[in-house]
């Protein structure tokens, strides 16, 4: 597990997101507004949200992968380098595949079905390290990478096609491709949602293990708060396109957190809970691009007061390790 306290030698954030808003290209509708986050080197960071919270839109846009959305305003710095809002996607995509690795959700559509997996991995190595490496050494590097992510008999698997592998194995192959370029940051968007419980646990452990041993920073996006609570150091909670809470995972279920984070934790069945511990949240989740004044969660919040719908939310300065957007101060550090 990543340490929560910034290390004294290197506490400059690896990824600095300040007041970033994401809008759709058609209609210029703001979907995610004013998000500030700091991801530190070697940190394992989680982003949780229900469908429509904007978690996938935000990260895909920040990676330059979302064709129908753009960074509307704000500042993004990666590894000390400023990424200008104008022409953002192009700049971000240059980082992707070099300093940033990405593992998308669906392992069944993220590999080229007509290309042997060995070729797909060596291609990534070529791109990162260039041609002078030579075919034989690249092949060896790919095979050792495959062994590292736990693909059995990698030399044999090298010549196989994606359809000959299970979902868990395919996700490992995607992971190997993401790691081929030795990134500083790995972004995994619901990497295990399509997988069975046993495989899910193995893939998550694999990612955490790599992070520990190679000092890789990880952003793990999931709808499963319990999974994140057990796997990551800090969790950002998104709802209706707003960043409502940044919280140390150990605080969830123990200390006071943002009302939405609290309610979200109360609705998931976990090992320890009995039926009496489960409390659902009334109503339906609002989508991203909520667009009204005030807090997106106000309509479902048990602590709601009139001011919740009329006051602008406090923005995260980003410098403190935790943050709550609740105007009542619930869960504020």
């Amino acid at each position: 597990m990543a340490s929560l306290a910034p290390t004294s030698t290197d506490d400059r954030p690896l990824l600095e997101i300040r007041d970033v808003s994401v809008a759709l290209k058609t209609g210029k509708r703001t979907m995610v507004s004013g998000v500030s986050l700091d991801i530190r080197p070697r940190e394992v960071f989680g982003i949780v949200g229900e469908s429509g919270s904007g978690k996938t839109l935000l990260t895909r846009t920040l990676l330059g992968l979302q064709d129908d959305a753009f960074v509307e305003s704000g500042r993004v710095r990666f590894n000390g380098e400023e990424l200008p809002v104008a022409g953002y996607a192009g700049r971000a995509r240059k980082l992707l595949g070099h300093s940033i690795g990405f593992v998308p959700q669906d392992p069944f559509s993220s590999l080229n079905p007509s290309m042997r997996i060995g070729k797909q991995i060596t291609e990534a190595i070529y791109l990162a390290k260039g041609w002078p490496m030579g075919a034989e050494r690249t092949r060896e590097a790919a095979i050792s990478l495959m062994a590292e992510v736990g693909i059995p008999e990698p030399a044999l698997a090298f010549n196989q096609f994606p359809d000959q592998f299970s979902g868990g194995m395919r996700q490992r192959i995607v992971f190997a491709i993401a790691l081929a370029q030795d990134p500083k940051l790995l972004v995994a968007d619901e990497p295990t949602t399509a997988l069975d419980a046993i495989t899910q646990r193995r893939v998550i452990e694999l990612i955490l293990d790599r992070s520990r041993r190679h000092g890789l920073a990880v952003i793990l996006i999931s709808h499963n708060l319990e999974l994140l609570r057990q796997s990551v150091g800090r969790i950002a909670v998104l709802y209706g396109g707003q960043l409502l809470n940044v919280v140390a995972s150990g605080d969830i279920g123990r200390s006071t957190v943002h009302p939405y984070a609290e309610a979200l934790f109360d609705c998931i069945p976990t090992r320890e809970k009995t039926l009496a511990d489960i409390r659902s949240i009334p109503g339906e989740p609002v989508g991203a691009g909520f667009g009204l004044r005030g807090c997106a969660f106000a309509s479902r919040c048990p602590y709601v007061v009139t001011a919740c719908t009329t006051t602008d939310l406090p923005r995260n300065g980003g410098l403190t390790p935790s943050f709550s957007a609740c105007i009542l101060g619930r869960g504020a550090p």
Binding site: R201, A263, C267, P269, I281
Partner: protein, 260 residues
């Protein structure tokens, strides 16, 4: 739990295989020697990962699919030997709610119409006005306002559609309700709402429930007994609280360890 001697559902040595390819004798087994007995009033979980055969069991219990070996007795009577009349009665005794609420409602019927339709078949004694009233009551019971009954499935969210599917299933007052992964396609906060609805239904209605799920934590919460399936076979059975806290089977233990 089983009040009477004859179990409501009794699967004995059920086998089911699918041809790997057309016209080829090489068959793969979806189920091997599955024995399941469910008493009246029980809430029984069938737990397994994808490919374990749990949904095939659901389809066999509801007679949506056949089987190749073994016998299935419903209330003591062999389903294979059913007459036409019995088969018709079976359909109102057993109802199913599917995983995907987007695919299980008729998009061209209003949601009240969907609920009323099953009443036309199974309660021909009711007048149209009575069916209308009953459908409204059922919708209200699952948390859909009666006025919304005039709307079409696409106007509802996933959670609301699942509520409507539940209203339709209980409309004919089934004795056995099979829930095939009813929470899997829903958002976390909506899952908890539907779970609360199930708990209320279990308390208020005289229902026997088969709950098919891959979610260990949900099964532990609402089921009396559980069958754990792996690769087409039942590997462990017993009281949910015992099996899911102190598993005896190696696979169950691995599954429980993996769950967050």
């Amino acid at each position: 739990m089983a009040g009477v001697d004859i179990p409501m559902v009794e699967l004995k040595g059920i086998a089911k295989s699918f041809a790997r390819r057309l016209f080829v004798q090489n068959r793969s087994f979806a189920l091997r020697d599955v024995n399941i007995a469910i008493g009246r009033g029980e809430v029984v979980g069938i737990l397994g990962e994808s490919g374990s055969g749990k949904s095939t069991v659901a389809n066999i219990i509801t007679c949506l699919t056949g089987y190749d070996g073994g016998t299935y007795r419903f209330k003591g009577r062999d389903v294979g030997a059913y007459t036409r009349k019995e088969r018709f009665a079976f359909k109102s005794d057993v109802q199913i709610v599917f995983q995907d609420p987007y695919g299980s409602l008729n998009p061209r019927a209003t949601v009240r119409g969907s609920v009323m339709e099953s009443l036309i078949l199974h309660r021909p004694d009711l007048s149209r006005a009575e069916r209308f009233e009953r459908a409204n009551t059922l919708l209200e019971e699952v948390g859909i306002p009666a006025e919304a009954g005039d709307r079409y499935p696409h106007e509802f969210s996933g959670g609301q559609r699942q509520r409507i599917a539940i209203a339709r299933a209980i409309a004919v007052e089934p004795e056995l309700l099979v829930l095939d992964e009813p929470l899997s396609s829903l958002d976390v906060s909506i899952q908890a709402q539907i779970l609360e609805l199930f708990v209320r239904m279990i308390r208020e209605r005289d229902l026997t429930i088969v709950f098919i799920s891959h979610d260990v934590n949900v099964v532990r919460l609402i089921c009396d007994r559980v069958y754990v399936m792996n690769q087409g076979a039942v590997v462990e059975e017993g009281f949910a609280r015992d099996v899911l806290t102190h598993p005896q089977n190696e696979y169950t233990a691995r599954l429980l360890d993996a769950v967050y």
